[in-house]
Amino acid sequence: MEQGLVLAALLFAMGLVGVMVRRNIILILMSVEVMLNACGLAFIVAGARWGQADGQIMFMLILAIAAAEVSVGLGLLLQVHRRLGSIDIDKTSRLKG
């Protein structure tokens, strides 16, 4: 139980750091996937601990959301590449105040 949660927390932290420090959009999307899966792992572990099916149901939901998120994210990625000729996230700062 504890090991599972620690693993999930570590995975989540790694994903978060990846989102914050990476400039490549593909790698940011991958980091977001890692974070989502860390959440899913935490649900599974909690579901196993109390013997409830809720954790697995939530994981299914997260999978579906992750799939949708990736498709939208990749679509945006293609648009960014087409317009800016680059997939560097720091180049997309035209809306700065």
């Binding site: 914050m20 996230i89 105040g97």
Partner: protein, 610 residues
């Protein structure tokens, strides 16, 4: 027949609407027919009504309701007209003299390109003035009151391209507005205590509710006096009238001599029962009248502009009317109002004829010797001045004599002041006549005025001569004065004094055998003349006390001191906004970082670490 009364103000109003709507696209002839004809129609109806009124011997006031105006919770002033001897007299003066002046202006203004605008304003003025004198309630009266004020403003500033005319118009409008505010307060006060605005029920209720000398009727009467003083150019609000001479001469004759400036006299006469309840206010009326008539007469002695002399004499004559009202000789005040309308309209129109022939020359010392060349104007001035001076058997003699004798019975010193005023009146009016019409010719006049100007002058000459024999039908309106025996000496002295003044003027200005230059050219005499010439320095005083401080304050406040607070709030907000907008870098990673930082903080707080 009496039912035709609602048409009297309607004709000028319809004519105004047509002239206003066509914007001067009509030719000069249709404009003149409309403008003069509408007043002529009204005058005819007034004559018919007056004829029937006098032959039927009616005395009870008639009230004609046209339509209701406002109806809110028991407050329902109506458009209703009151016909009695007083309003009939006023209507006769307004439409009769008004018609003659309109006829005169149809020629006088012929060369003006704004011919149609002039008649539109004049007709609107007549309509408003008729509403004022016919009004059955104080609200409708106030509508007419403000209407004539507006027309006065528009007509003083008629030649608006000259900036000083606009300034004179604004001065007249603002100063009368001061009085009107006081009058509005007086009306509110009466309505608050008596619960009605209709004049006659209101005065009846006032008689029942208050005893003579109570505080509230005194305050109300003084406030209404404020309005009358503003409109009738009396002390201390008289400074606008001399400047109002900037308007065309027929305007001065109609508005600033015959009708509008006497509205204050009419108002006080209409509300006389209120003044009987407030002896303090009534004696204030007398004192104001006396002070004004003396101040204005001294000023008129020194003026050189023909129209300004007449303006000061108007102020002075209205002072006599106020004196009459103040001593309770209501009918004499209205009588003097009527005769004054005749002879002062005559004098102004005569002055207009002189100015017309001299290419708009106003300085009397540049005129001279016009007696032979402008006979109609000369006789207008002779007869007008004789009536103004109250020489025996002219119209002014009868009315002024009545006033002075009534004043003597109340207070001898009021009589003495009035007689001194009459003496000064005779000097300044014949100074004007002798300088303008006798002596050497200084400016060659062009053609004398045509028939349309001469005929009204002649009719007014007749009226100014015989007007004193008319009997004003106001006996039923005012309480009758007790018939007392006049003091014989006083009754003889009163009409002799103006004769003395005329003689003095004759020796001073025509024969020049009496030389007062040692007196006039001494340093004191010169200063005194300068003081009189500036109208007792009242303009200077008002300028220093009111205008300059106000302008200084306005200049200091140009950047809106009060607004600074609100502008400050707006400025702080926009600065904060500017600072915060720095955090919007547009970098996704920066946003993620701040979100995480925030999340860590929130978590830390929830978990109780911080």
């Amino acid at each position: 027949m009496f039912d035709l009364i609602s048409f009297i103000p309607l004709f000028p109003l319809v004519s105004f609407v047509i002239l206003f709507a066509t914007q001067g696209n009509l030719g000069k002839l249709p404009v003149a027919i409309l403008g003069v004809g509408s007043i002529g129609l009204s005058a005819t109806i007034v004559m018919l009504i007056a004829f029937q009124w006098l032959t039927s011997g009616a005395t009870e006031p008639h009230i004609y309701t046209i339509t209701s105006w406002i109806s809110v919770a028991g407050f329902n002033p109506r458009f209703s007209f009151l016909l009695d001897g007083l309003s009939l007299t006023m209507m006769l003066v307004i439409t009769g003299v008004g018609f003659l002046i309109h006829l005169y202006s149809s020629l006088f203004m012929e060369d003006d390109e704004d011919y149609s605008r002039f008649f539109a304003y004049m007709n609107l003025f007549v309509c408003a003035m008729l509403v004022l004198v016919l009004a059955d309630n104080l609200l409708l009266l106030y509508l007419g009151w403000e209407g004539v004020g507006l027309c006065s403003y528009l007509l003083i500033g008629f030649w608006y391209e000259d900036e000083s005319n606009g300034a004179a118009a604004r001065k007249a409008f603002i100063i009368t507005r001061i009085g009107d505010t006081a009058m509005a307060l007086g009306i509110f006060l009466l309505f608050m205590h008596l619960g009605t605005l209709e004049i006659q029920p209101m005065l009846q209720a006032a008689n029942q509710m208050w005893a003579t000398g109570d505080k509230i009727p005194t305050i109300a009467a003084l406030l209404i006096l404020g309005g009358a003083v503003g409109k009738s150019a009396q002390l201390p609000l008289q400074t606008w009238l001399p400047d109002a001479m900037a308007g065309p001469t027929p305007v001065s004759a109609l508005i600033h001599a015959a009708t509008m400036v006497t509205a204050g006299v009419y108002l006080i006469a209409r509300m006389h029962e209120l003044y009987l309840l407030a002896p303090l206010a009534q004696s204030t009326v007398a004192v104001v009248g006396l002070a004004t008539l003396l101040i204005a007469a001294f000023t008129a002695l020194t003026q050189t502009d023909i129209k300004r002399i007449l303006a000061y004499s108007t102020i002075s004559q209205i002072g006599y009317m106020f004196l009459a009202l103040g001593v309770g000789a209501w009918a004499s005040g209205i009588f003097h109002l009527m005769t004054h309308a005749f002879f002062k309209a005559l004098l102004f129109l005569g002055a207009g004829a002189v100015v017309y022939s001299l290419h708009h020359e106003h300085d009397i010392f540049k005129m001279g010797g016009l007696r032979k060349k402008l006979p109609v104007a000369f006789w207008s001035f002779m007869i007008g001045s004789a009536a103004l001076t109250a020489l025996p058997l002219t119209s002014g003699y009868f009315s002024k004599d009545e006033i002075l004798l009534a004043a003597f019975k109340v207070e001898p010193w009021l009589w003495a002041g009035g007689v001194l005023g009459a003496f000064l009146t005779s000097i300044y009016s014949f100074r004007l006549v002798f300088i303008v019409f006798f002596g050497s010719t200084n400016t060659e006049p062009s053609e004398p005025a045509g028939l349309r100007m001469a005929v009204p002058l002649m009719i007014l000459m007749v009226l100014a001569m015989i007007g004193g024999f008319f009997h004003v039908p106001v006996d039923a309106v005012f309480p009758l004065l007790p018939e007392t025996h006049h003091n014989q000496t006083i009754a003889i002295i009163t009409p002799l004094v103006p004769l003395l003044g005329v003689l003095l003027a004759y020796f001073l200005f025509l024969r020049k055998s009496l030389n007062l230059s040692f007196l006039l050219d001494s340093s004191m005499g010169r200063n005194l003349r300068k003081f009189f010439f500036s109208h007792w320095a009242m303009d200077w005083l008002y300028d220093r006390v009111f205008v300059v401080p106000y302008k200084t304050f306005a200049r200091l406040n140009q950047s809106d001191v009060v607004d600074q607070v609100y502008e400050g709030i707006a400025n702080v907000t926009s600065i904060l906004h500017y600072l915060i907008s720095f955090s919007q870098t547009g970098h996704l990673r920066w946003y993620a970082l701040t979100m995480v930082t925030g999340l860590v903080f929130v978590l830390a707080i929830i978990l109780g670490i911080i």
